[in-house]
Structure formats: C-alpha cells, structure tokens
C-alpha cells in the first residue's frame, strides 16, 4: 500500500511541475502577445497617420490641379470632380448627378464610345480630343487622358480622366494657321520678288523672286546676295546694311541691278527692312524687289517726251505771240496807208475807189480780229491761274453792264449762281463770250437770254438759253473748234466758243448744245465744284 501512495505522490509532483511549466509558458506567451499587440497597435497608428498624410496630399493635388479631374464609375456616373472640372463643365456633382454621356457632343458620340471601349480594354487612353457640351459655355473642345482604376483583385472599379479645355488654343492655332496661309498666299503670289536673308545668306524666297532671277528655290538657298548683285553696287548695299545692323536706320530703298542665272541683268527697286529680335538685334533682312527695267526705260522715254512737249508747247505759245505781233504791225501800216490814200486823194477818187478802200479797211480789220483771237486762244492756258473766291452772280451782273445789249434784248439770271473757286478773268471770259454770242446773234423782235445754274454732285451745271436763230444739229460739235464760225458777215472770228471750250476744259467741265432751229439755243456747261 505504501508503494501506491508513493506512486501517487510522485505523479502529483510531476503534474504540479508540468502545470507550473505550462503556466510559465503561458505567461511568457502572454507577455509576448502583449508586446506584439503593442507593436502592432503602434504600427497601425503610424500607418494610419501615413495614410492621412497621403490622402490630404492627394486631396491637395487633386484640388490644385490646373486641369479638370473627373472620377467616375464604369457607367460614366461622375463620382468626383475638382474645382477646375466644375468650372469647365459648369456642373458640380456635390449638388447634381452627372453622367459623362450627357456631355458628349452628338457628332463625336461614336468616337467617344470607341475611346471608352479602348479605355476598358487597355485600361487607359490618351490624347482623346473631342467636343463637349458645357452648362454655361456652350460647346468646348477638350483633350482627355484617362485610365481605369482597379481593386486588389485587378477588377476595374472606376475610371479617372484629366481634362484640358483646348478650345481657345485650337482657335488660336486655327487663326494662326489661317494667317500663315494668307500671308504665304500673298508672298507667293506677290509680283514683287521677296527674299529673306541673314548676313547676306539667302534663307527664303518667293516665286516672283525665283522667276526674276531664274534660279530655283533650292539653288538660291545655297547662294548669298553678293552672287546675284553687281560688284560695284554691292558696296552701297553693304554700307546700308551696316547702318541697319547698328540700328541707325530701320531700312533702306535703292535701285540696283541683279544678275540672273543666264547672266542677264535687270534693274530693280530694292526695299530692305530689318527683322529684329526682341532685344533689337537684327535677325533677318527682308527685301522686296521690283523689276523696274521697263519702268526705267519708260521713264526715260517719258522724260524725253515731256521735255520735247514742254519745249514745243512753249515754242508754240511764243510762236503765236510773236507771229501775231509781227502780223499786227503790217496791218497797222496797211490801215494807215489806205487811210492816207483816202484822205490825201479824196478829190481824185471816185465813189467806187472809195468803196474799194473801205472794203480793204474792213478786211484789214477782220484780219486784226483773227490775230487777236489767236492771241487770246493761245493765252487761255498760259500764265498763272489765280484761284480766288468768285461770286458768279456779280461776275454775270458785271458782264451784263459791260457788254452792249440792245433795248429789244433782255438778259436775266433766273436762278442763284454759285460762288466758285477760279480765275476771275477766265470765268468772266467764259460767261461773256457765251452771253455776247447770244446777244449778238439774236434775231427776234423781243429777244431774251436766260442764265441759270443747277447744282450737281461734283459739278455746277449752267445753262445760257436764248430765243435766237438756233444752231443746226450738224454744227453742234463743230462750233467749238477754233476759227469755226457760222456767220460770214459779222466780225466773228470763230475763236469765242473755242476759248469757252478751253476754259471749261481747264475746270474739268463739259459743254454741249441743245437747239431748235428758228426758236433758240441753250448752251449747257459744267464746272467742277
């Protein structure tokens, strides 16, 4: 029995020891666990802090992104958008629901769907460019880079896109392109040769320039200005170029010669201007070249012609002057001699002889009138034109007072006459000749002459009407030619109307006649205002 007890005791002690050990292990493990838990807790706290930091960092980026940022689910429902996106689209998902499909411009729908398909397939797309409707700004063109967001199982859950409004940029590009095209059309079609150079080296030319020099663009780009210039003239260009480089002059224009590919030479007016950098340094020179070979030839001819014309005109004027005076002297002698014959031999001359002498005197008289006419006619466009303010009312009134008007003829001014700028003497000559004619040739018992004026846009239109004999139609042009007269008997020289015509020509006017034979004539004429 004692043995049994011993065994029991020992077993108990063993068990006690084992439990103690177990307890210790448990205690150790427990402590270990506690530490691990502590560590985990700390780590977790740290992680949480980190996430917080990252999240707020992200939020900052997200908010401050200049470009619009849109986050949406796979059905296109917008989940989040930044301030730039709100501004761009005019919608704000915090206040209203928004699906991107409603933003797609209808013509771009298909393209948008294709792109969206690509996005789901490949996980991204870039450089998507299409038009969208916005709430307040109408249709805008946008550029989008997008990507798919996946969860940890690689399952797509959302999509995000960065959107940039490129409407203005595109518009500017379009305008720029348009302008570039317009400019190049002008440059290419210019009849002026245009060349861009840098330090004498040819950088760019237009067609006219290539045509003028007969070189191709490729050939010209390998050349410099010196090669197409004349050695003796290149210096002048170079001096000007130096002045331009220093900023002394902005550009210059010279006439110089150019050598063509075939060795031929032509004269060209060359205008060179500096193209400067922002800091004022000359970057390029642009030269406009105009072939003036023909022009120079024409100018030469014209100068010569003008000189000759001036000379012969002066000669003609002097000639009229001199000849008429040389002719006048003998006429005076003839008159004197005939008068003396009549006086000194009065007693021996019969009536027939006296008559013949009288007729001779009349012819001498007529001759003198003609010569005066030539003088007057040739002096209309001679001498100074003194431009003065002239009231034609008083001019015509003076004429009516000066010239002889028989009692049976009445001259009236039926409308107010204008005040014009002109040469008093010539204007008086003009009206006097016309009124005088009307008075002189009036054949009616009660004659009348009416002077009137109607203002036109650029001219004054005058009329001098009478109830005289009228002028046959066939003479309506002829009467204005010098020495053309319809009357043989009276002292008409046929100069009066040609002087009238000449004066009207001086004032850029016209003269024409309306007349009914036997009933009267109206002279219409215009004078430039």
């Amino acid at each position: 029995m004692g043995n049994d007890q011993e065994i029991f005791k020992r077993a108990l002690a063993r068990e006690k020891a084992a439990r103690k050990q177990a307890e210790k292990i448990l205690e150790d493990k427990s402590r270990e666990l506690y530490f691990i838990t502590q560590q985990l807790k700390e780590a977790n706290e740290q992680l949480e802090d980190l996430v917080d930091v990252k999240e707020s960092e992200l939020q900052g980026v997200f908010d401050n992104l200049v470009d619009a940022y849109v986050l949406m689910d796979l059905h296109g429902n917008v989940q989040e958008m930044n301030q730039a996106a709100v501004e761009l689209f005019g919608y704000d998902v915090r206040n209203e629901k928004l699906n991107v499909v409603q933003l797609i411009y209808k013509e771009d729908y298909e393209y948008a769907m294709t792109s969206f398909f690509k996005l789901t397939q490949d996980g991204f797309f870039s450089d998507y460019q299409a038009r969208v409707y916005t709430k307040h700004n109408g249709v805008r063109t946008v550029h989008i880079n997008a990507s798919i967001i996946k969860d940890k199982n690689k399952k797509p859950i959302a999509a995000q896109g960065i959107v940039r409004d490129i409407t203005t940029t595109l518009e500017q590009q379009r305008i720029f392109e348009n302008q570039r095209q317009q400019l190049s059309v002008i440059v290419e079609n210019s009849s002026l040769g245009i060349v861009l150079t840098q330090m004498g080296k040819i950088l760019q030319t237009n067609k006219a320039f290539q045509d003028l020099l007969q070189y191709s663009q490729e050939e010209l780009l390998e050349m410099n200005v010196q090669e197409i210039s004349m050695p003796d003239e290149y210096k002048e260009s170079e001096e000007n170029m130096k002045k331009m480089t220093s900023g002394e002059i902005g550009g210059f224009s010279i006439n110089k010669r150019y050598r063509k590919k075939n060795g031929g030479i032509f004269w060209a007016k060359t205008s060179v201007a500096a193209v400067r950098k922002q800091n004022g340094d000359m970057q390029y020179q642009v030269a406009l070249i105009e072939d003036i070979t023909d022009q120079r030839e024409h100018e030469k001819q014209r100068d010569l012609l003008l000189k000759n014309l001036e000379k012969s005109n002066k000669e003609l004027n002097d000639y009229a002057h001199i000849v008429s005076h040389d002719l006048k002297s003998p006429l005076r002698s003839m008159n004197a001699l005939i008068t003396w014959l009549k006086e000194d031999y009065e007693s021996v001359l019969d009536e027939g002889a006296q008559q013949s002498f009288d007729m001779l005197l009349k012819k001498v008289d007529k001759m003198d009138h003609l010569i005066n006419g030539i003088l007057e006619y040739s002096s209309v466009d001679k001498g100074e034109h003194i431009q003065k303010t002239i009231d034609l009312n008083s001019t015509v009134k003076d004429i009516i007072d000066i010239i002889y008007i028989p009692d049976h003829i009445e001259v009236t001014v039926t409308s107010d006459l204008p005040v014009v700028q002109g040469d008093n003497f010539r204007l008086q000559q003009l009206f006097q000749n016309l009124i005088n004619n009307a008075v002189k040739y009036n054949d009616k018992e009660k004659g009348w002459i009416k002077v009137s004026c109607i203002p036109q846009k650029t001219h004054w239109q005058f009329a001098i009407e009478d109830n005289g004999p009228g002028i046959p139609k066939k003479y309506h042009e002829k009467i204005f030619r010098v020495f053309q007269t319809l009357d043989d008997n009276k002292e008409s020289t046929g100069v009066g109307l040609s002087i009238v015509k000449k004066i009207i020509d001086l004032y850029d006017g016209k003269i024409w006649v309306t007349s009914e034979e036997g009933k009267g004539t109206a002279f219409h004429f215009t004078l430039k205002k």
Binding site: S329, R332, S333, N335, T339, D365, G383
Partner: protein
C-alpha cells in the same frame, strides 16, 4: 514850248505815221528818228541835243526796246528822260517788264490810223504841259 522827241522805231511807215500826226496837228516840236537802239544810242551820245522824251518801239530787230531801255536807265545822264513805249502788244509781261525797268507811259498802237492819230495827239499835248529835268 518846243520839245525834242526821239522816236525809236524800225518800221518806216510807223515813223511816217508819227510824223504825219505831228504835221497834221501843226505841232511845233522837233522829231529825231532812229531805226534801232544802236542808232538811238549814237544820237544820245551828242549831249548837246538831248531829247526831252523818247518814244520807243518794243519789237525791233537786234537790240530790242527793252534792252535799249535798260542801257538808258543805267546811264546817269539819261535816266531822267521819260520814255513812252509804243507797242502793238498789250501782253501783261511786256507791260510789267517795261514799267519795272522804268517807263513814263505805255501806248498800245491801235489798228485804225484815226485811233492812233488821236492817241498820239493826246499824248503830245499832255507832254507839252509837263516840266522836264534839264540834264
């Protein structure tokens, strides 16, 4: 008072006309005649018989009237002598040049002798009542 006239005129009949006016009006004046400027200058060299008035034609061969006038005006012993132009020209420039150089009168010769005779008569009568500087 008897005056001395110098008529410078290349045309013989013009000289006859002037003489005839004087004769017809019984003017008691002395008439010297020169056919041109050179001849007139020779006459004027004789300082003892200087004319009181000079009548001058403008259009003359060789030395013309205006050239003669300029020479006359530059001569201090002669520049007081009044000069009257007789011309067929009423050209503005001729008149201006004449008065600028210094003339006492300018007569345009009319076509008709009667008119001429009347003008010359008036002129001679006018100068007859004038006083002259005796050189």
């Amino acid at each position: 008072m008897s005056l001395t006239f110098l008529l410078i005129e290349d045309d013989e009949i013009e000289r006859m006309k002037f003489a005839r006016v004087m004769q017809k009006n019984n003017f008691n004046h002395r008439l010297l005649e020169a056919e041109n400027g050179e001849e007139a200058l020779k006459i004027l060299e004789k300082k003892d018989s200087l004319p009181d008035i000079i009548f001058l034609d403008l259009n003359m061969p060789k030395m013309n009237g205006l050239e003669f006038l300029k020479i006359l005006k530059s001569d201090t012993s002669l520049n007081y002598t009044p000069v009257v132009i007789l011309s067929t020209s009423n050209n503005h420039n001729d008149l201006k040049d004449s008065y600028e150089t210094g003339v006492a009168g300018y007569i345009v010769k009319p076509l008709k002798y009667e008119d001429y005779a009347h003008k010359i008569k008036c002129m001679i009568e006018y100068w007859s009542v004038n006083e002259f500087v005796n050189a």
